[in-house]
């Protein structure tokens, strides 16, 4: 193949292959999405808010507040001639704001209905409305978070926005504050709902409700005897339902006796607070509506409970997938603490539960997927009768046991041949029973099983053209047990490739032989390169006759002429005299033949030193020149 053609093929092939994606993109499917692009080379967003002189008014109005205006804004956004992407942002901001405003509106409605239900004494309905309000507040919270994230992004790109919108973004901040204020207001409204629970003062005869606990303090969980009377105008009201609340929790209801009195024994809820309010409420219902007014009575009851103390003793470090023992010391103010239910959580996941006396050991399994690092271990002693709940958090360092891999292999190997390795894996001086050893050795990749803490393997190294040298051997231990750490060992094995070494030696030897043969051939072709002195010693005859062809003719004719000149003109040449020096030496004495001799000398030099081989015409010319020199000398 011609070199030029080879070049064309060599360089055009990659270009042809590289042009394939271009070809596909031009003539392939109608739409081919790019899976990704280089983020480092990606341009910063050409801001969709470039149309902000136009959109500023919308955004400014958008954040101004009222629901009605937001609804108007939706129309405005739809009608405005905005770039599509900006229209999307504005639309979504409006939607987000409308959703938030709607949510706030529904919260207001739900709270209003709660108040109304409470006014009517419909506690179940008011509870239901409060639950709905709480869900709406959660939804509003999510919307506020999303809106804040969006405004943060907008503020991030404020610097590239022109001045007309700077006011709008300032208003965004104010609006955010307004949302926060609203949120706080709703929080306070929810908190205030209970306060708004009051007996509705209606038209009718006032009633009086008297209530007396029979004891000033009580142990939580025990019964409390309460007596009292409901009366109107000094007369007891029989058969009326009275609701009881203990620490704002419904605690049951009772019906008054024939004389309006009541005596009830109520269980005291498990409230672990120093005191709680006991409240009785009479709400006129049915025929009593409009006849009697509601009334209530409240008194503080001192609660007795026993504070629990907990002290957890846990090791400083734990390992994923392994269990550890912790000790829980539980105590309480008198009387002595009974058996208590203890739950233990690690990194937020409950992992153990047990009934414990004053001191107990708990086996705590650490989940295998527990993140490494500092984690919380939380122990909780549940409330039990008059004993309150207590918890303690301790810091636990989740870590893995370091693993040591002892690898034994030879430092060098032949190719082709095999490589053997064996070793052991131990953790804390104990052999690791299970795991896998991943081996990477050049292009070789394999996995060995660890059994009983040891592993071994060998691989055949096929014939290869790799000359030799060091080859990295990487061994990585992958534990099966999550409490063990991964470990890696790296060694280097020296390759000695007999095949390729022999091959290389053969190539070098053959190349050397070829070179020597070629040099020898050329040496023989051009040998000898005689000096002029040889002509003096009459050795030129052998020189001339030992050669053949045009080269031999020229050399022979030149030496014949030199021999003639030295003999007839009695010239003595030194061995170091060059052909050209000799020509100059005899130039004057040759007279008319000097030019012919000079030309013959040049031809001799060309024959000796030029890579170009003389042809027959030159050989003929040499004969003519030599004869001219001979004739001239003889004539002289």
């Amino acid at each position: 193949m011609k070199p030029r053609l080879l070049f064309v093929v060599a360089f055009s092939l990659p270009l042809l292959l590289a042009s394939r994606p271009l070809f596909l993109s031009l003539y392939g499917e109608a739409r081919v999405y790019q899976p990704h692009s280089n983020p480092a080379a990606a341009a910063l967003s050409s801001n969709p808010l470039t149309a902000l002189p136009m959109g500023g008014a919308i955004l400014g109005a958008l954040i101004s507040g009222a629901t009605v205006e937001l609804q108007d804004l939706k129309v405005l956004v739809n009608e405005a001639n905005l770039p599509p992407t900006f229209r999307l942002i504005a639309k979504q901001m409006v939607e987000l704001s409308v959703n938030l405003m709607d949510t706030l509106k529904y919260i207001g409605i739900a709270l209003q209905e709660t108040e109304s239900a409470l006014d009517q004494g419909l506690l179940e309905k008011s509870k239901e409305q409060l639950g709905r309000t709480q869900a709406l507040i959660q939804q509003g919270d999510d919307l506020v978070a999303e809106l804040q994230a969006a405004t943060d992004q907008l503020i991030r790109i404020v610097p590239v926005v022109q001045a007309p919108l700077s006011d709008a973004f300032a208003q965004f901040e104010q609006e955010r504050e307004r949302f926060r204020t609203l949120w706080q207001r709703y929080q306070s409204r929810i908190g205030g709902v209970k306060e708004q629970i009051a007996i509705v003062e209606e038209q009718g005869t006032p009633t009086a409700l008297l209530m007396n606990p029979t004891q000033p303090d009580v142990i939580v969980g025990q019964n409390l005897l309460v007596t009292g009377i409901l009366s109107a105008g000094g007369e007891g009201l029989p058969g009326r339902d009275v609701e009881l609340f203990f620490g704002e929790r419904p605690a049951g209801s009772f019906t008054t006796e024939d004389d309006g009195s009541f005596t009830i024994q109520m269980p005291v809820p498990l409230l672990y607070v120093p005191s709680a309010q006991l409240e009785a409420r009479y709400i006129p219902q049915g025929e009593d509506n409009g006849v009697f007014r509601g009334s209530s009575a409240a008194t503080d009851v001192k609660l007795i409970y026993f504070a629990t103390s907990l002290q957890v003793e846990a090791p400083a470090a734990a390992y994923p997938g392994r269990s550890m023992i912790i000790i829980a010391n539980i105590d309480a103010t008198r009387p002595p603490s009974p058996e208590r239910r203890v739950t233990v959580a690690v990194a937020g996941t409950q992992v153990a539960e047990a009934q414990c006396g004053r001191r107990c050991e708990l086996t705590v399994p650490i989940p295998p997927d527990t993140p490494l690092g500092e984690q919380w271990l939380s122990a909780i002693v549940a409330a039990e009768g008059p004993y309150d709940e207590v918890s303690q958090d301790v810091t636990l360092s989740i870590t893995q046991i370091p693993v040591r891999v002892d690898l034994r292999t030879s430092f060098w190997t032949f190719v082709p041949g095999e490589v053997r390795l064996q070793g052991s894996v131990d953790a804390s001086s104990e052999p690791v029973e299970q795991g896998a050893i991943a081996v990477r050795f050049g292009a070789l990749s394999d996995t060995l099983a660890v059994q009983g803490g040891v592993f071994s393997g060998h691989w055949d190294l096929p014939p290869s053209l790799v000359i030799g040298g060091p080859q990295p051997l990487e061994v990585t231990f992958r534990p099966k047990d999550p409490w063990l750490a991964q470990a890696a060992v790296r060694r280097s094995v020296f390759f000695v490739n007999l095949w390729s070494s022999v091959l290389l030696a053969a190539i070098l030897a053959m190349a050397s032989m070829g070179y020597v043969a070629r040099r020898t051939w050329h040496e023989k072709q051009r040998r000898p390169v005689p000096s002029v002195a040889m002509a003096v010693q009459n050795q030129q005859g052998r020189v001339a006759t030992s050669q053949t062809g045009s080269w031999g003719v020229i050399v022979g004719e030149f030496w014949r002429a030199v021999h003639l000149v030295t003999r007839l003109l009695s010239i003595q040449a030194r061995p170091s005299t060059t052909l050209r020096e000799f020509s100059a030496l005899v130039e004057r004495r040759l007279g008319g033949a000097s030019q012919a001799f000079q030309r013959l000398t040049w031809m001799m030099e060309e024959a000796l030193y030029s890579p170009r081989r003389p042809d027959a015409a030159q050989a003929k010319e040499a004969e003519v020149l030599a004869k001219e020199v001979e004739r001239t000398i003889k004539d002289a």
């Binding site: 999405y33 967003s45 190349a511």
Partner: protein
């Protein structure tokens, strides 16, 4: 002749030593490769034959570039059924065929979603939200992703912002009628004892994106052993040429090939440099 031989040798050497630049290739050190991810997580590249039968505690990442063969599909199915987690990461590839084969109803839309507001750099790099822990929100960045369709709300693990939109006509701007976010971009479907996690953008793992997505990747992979399916990147002309060179090297390394090389190494010098060669 000598010049052209040198050129060919130079080209071959260039092909051999120049690193892969193919999308998602594990040895690609450039922006679109997975070299950093593979090294950091000690990811093992596995073929269909090397996928373990017991998938417990292991993640198999699959970036499909086309439908799987029946054997490959069966291997993946077995891996998931045995308790493994298949991370099916796709945007515009053949992920739907695999999802269908696994009996998963969720699908990759195959159309790009853009987010002109909640993004890094520009709308082609949208930020999506996930919950590393209950009550927490965190972002990760995607690179020209698509969205998931047909996902049950309880299966969604990460979503785009509501300012995102599905660019159905590919004009890189929102047009009236084009769906807007939030969209599901990561979802988990329980299957047998294992699970299939669909991620609507494989580029979150690339060298150029990993730095800003490390929390997301750690959360997604947890502490499981990670494997990368070897069919996860298509072969470029360069990769094919490298493969061809590798095959050629294998042939030469075989006993027959070596014998041929030895013979040629003897014959050629004699032929070209022998004494009968004249100027």
């Amino acid at each position: 002749m000598a010049t052209s031989t040198a050129a060919v040798i130079f080209l071959v050497a260039l092909l051999w030593f120049y690193p892969s630049s193919q999308d998602f290739a594990p040895d690609n050190p450039f922006w679109n490769g997975l070299e950093k991810f593979v090294q950091e997580r000690d990811v093992k590249v596995v073929s269909a034959e090397a996928v373990p039968e017991d998938g417990v505690g292991q993640v198999l990442i699959l970036v499909p570039r086309g439908p799987l063969s029946p054997l490959e599909q069966a291997t993946v199915q077995r891996f998931v059924s045995s308790g493994g987690a298949l991370m099916l990461m796709d945007d515009f590839g053949g992920g739907n065929e695999i999802a269908r084969g696994l009996g998963v109803e969720a699908r990759f839309s195959g159309k790009p979603y853009l987010d002109p507001l909640v993004n890094t750099k520009n709308q082609q790099f949208p930020k999506a939200t996930f919950q590393p822990q209950a009550g927490q929100r965190a972002f990760f960045t995607m690179n020209q992703p698509t969205i998931l369709e047909g996902v049950s709300p309880e299966d969604v693990l990460a979503t785009s912002s509501r300012f995102s939109f599905l660019d159905e006509n590919g004009n890189k701007r929102w047009d009236s009628g084009e769906p807007t976010g939030p969209f599901a971009v990561v979802a988990r479907v329980l299957l047998g004892q294992g699970q299939v996690v669909l991620v609507a953008d494989p580029s979150v793992l690339t060298n150029s994106m990993l730095g800003q997505n490390r929390e997301f990747v750690d959360w997604l992979m947890k502490r499981r052993t990670v494997m990368l399916y070897s069919g996860s990147w298509s072969k470029s002309p360069q990769a094919e040429a490298k493969q061809a060179l590798g095959n050629g090297r294998d042939v030469l390394a075989s006993p027959l090939g070596l014998a041929a090389v030895l013979t040629l190494s003897v014959v050629l010098p004699i032929f070209f440099l022998g004494p009968w060669q004249r100027d």
